[in-house]
Amino acid sequence: MKKSNTLSFTDNLHRSGRIFTAVCLVLMCLVPVIYCLSAGVTPMWGSIGMAFSFILTYVAIGLIEAVSYAPILGVGGQYLSFLTGNISNLRLPCAINAQNIAKTKQGSEEQEIISTIAIAVSGIVTTIIIGIGIIPLAIWGADIVEVLKPVSPYVIPAIFGGLGLVLIARYLKLTAIPFAIMLVIALITFLLGKDLGQATMLSLGMGVSLISGFITYKIDRKKTEKAAK
């Protein structure tokens, strides 16, 4: 393989990513404004104030996710995923799947390229399917949803059963302890009648796993240093 110039490629992705993100943020903020102008109404500001704790929670989750996904998605994948959404249930599994097929090395430029391709293709396919999907919804209304609705909640277990096996095979040592801890946390919260929800459990899982991974890393390093002596 030829020698790569990683810096200019990633800088290029950063530049495009930032431009697209800025434009997208403007477009996103325009959506409620255009709705209000079209309908001739204003939002109920009091109700927005009442939702302040929810907004704050999701702002925090968004920040945690942006930091946490950064080492996994790669530069192109990060910008694309945070604008197309559905990261944990679609973009990330899609990128991992493509990386496994291409057998890319962790942190390599090859992996960056394959992840970007996978997430870009995934974004295009989803947008097209949504675009096509709203046609029957417009014609038949929500009736058509009733036929397929029962299967919707099972997408995540369907993805993460198979993908979980792949991840466990690759990261068994790093996955076992956080999985056990998260099982206990989930069990306790459910016993207390509290459902933390997928987004919170995911962020919590990453936090627990990072701490556990760092401790494992320290122990391994000490062992290596001892062996070297």
Binding site: F9, H14, S16, R18, F20, L25, V31, P32, I34, A39, S47, A51, F54, Y58, A60, S68, A70, P71, Y79, L80, L83, G85, N86, L90, N97, A98, A102, E109, I113, I114, T116, I117, I119, S122, I124, I129, I130, I134, L137, G141, V145, K149, Y154, V155, I156, P157, A158, I159, G161, G162, L167, Y171, L174, P178, F190, D195, G197, M206, V208, S209
Partner: protein
């Protein structure tokens, strides 16, 4: 169903075109760079093909999500929301902050309020990317140069953490839900037993695919193992929803 406005459909079209353009720009940049560094074109083609096939099945519930949300927000708003950033679980909780799903009559100010909450709450990730991500990425590049093992540990831990967080939630929630479906989160609308069976079937099918790839050297199956796994598991889940035992 609340009224849809033409301009909202125009926004949906603009945002769809925007997402496709952005994805194409990144796709071509990545392919070009791949060619420059001598990345095997077969790997590039396999990544495109496998990602396209993989994305079809998980995209269908997003359309179903639009169908669920359209009862409360009309058709155009869910289309816009699910095209950019949105994820169904989040959108439903966000729009229900003003209890729109329980309202007898849904007024336009209610829709405007729900839409504003949904928009504000989800902007922090992209804003972080716009302002700070490059700096964070540069630190990660430095870490890779100075201590690759630590970066690999961080990456592996984060992936393991996603699996740990999601799998533990799915399993425990499923045990507590059992045959009682319902709840605010879409995950809670699932039958717990079907969730566990789906998870199990998905693991078994993936294991079979892995064995076929390794033992029979079916290389072609690598591209389709995960889409096949998802399809079989979801097909089984759909069939099980009709089983009297899980009614």
């Amino acid at each position: 169903m609340p009224k849809d406005y033409v301009w909202m459909f125009v926004m949906g079209g603009v945002l769809s075109a925007f997402v496709i353009t952005m994805s194409l720009v990144f796709l071509f940049k990545a392919i070009k760079r791949g060619k420059e560094i001598g990345l095997d074109s077969k790997k590039i083609k396999a990544a495109i093909k496998s990602s396209a096939v993989f994305s079809i099945v998980p995209s269908i519930p997003i359309v179903i999500g639009i169908g669920i949300m359209m009862n409360y927000l009309g058709l155009a708003i869910p289309w816009v929301r699910m095209t950019v950033i949105g994820a169904l679980q989040y959108e439903i909780i966000a729009m229900d902050q003003i209890e729109i799903t329980k309202a007898a009559i849904i007024t336009e100010p209610m829709v405007a309020t729900a839409l504003t909450i949904m928009t504000i709450s989800i902007l922090s990730g992209p804003i972080f990317n716009l302002l700070f991500y490059k700096r964070l990425q540069n630190k990660l590049v430095d870490l890779e140069k100075n201590n690759k093992k630590l970066l690999d540990t961080i990456t592996g831990s984060l992936l393991g953490g996603i699996l740990a967080g999601l799998a533990s939630y799915i399993i425990i929630a499923a045990f507590f839900t059992g045959n009682n479906t319902g709840g605010e989160e879409l995950a809670a609308a699932a039958n717990g037993y079907i969730t566990l069976i789906t998870l199990g079937i998905s693991m078994v099918v993936m294991a079979i695919c892995g064995a076929l790839i390794l033992k029979l050297k079916w290389k072609w199956l690598e591209n389709y193992a995960l889409p096949i796994t998802i399809l079989v598991a979801m097909g089984a889940a759909y069939a099980l929803t009709f089983a009297p035992a899980f009614a």
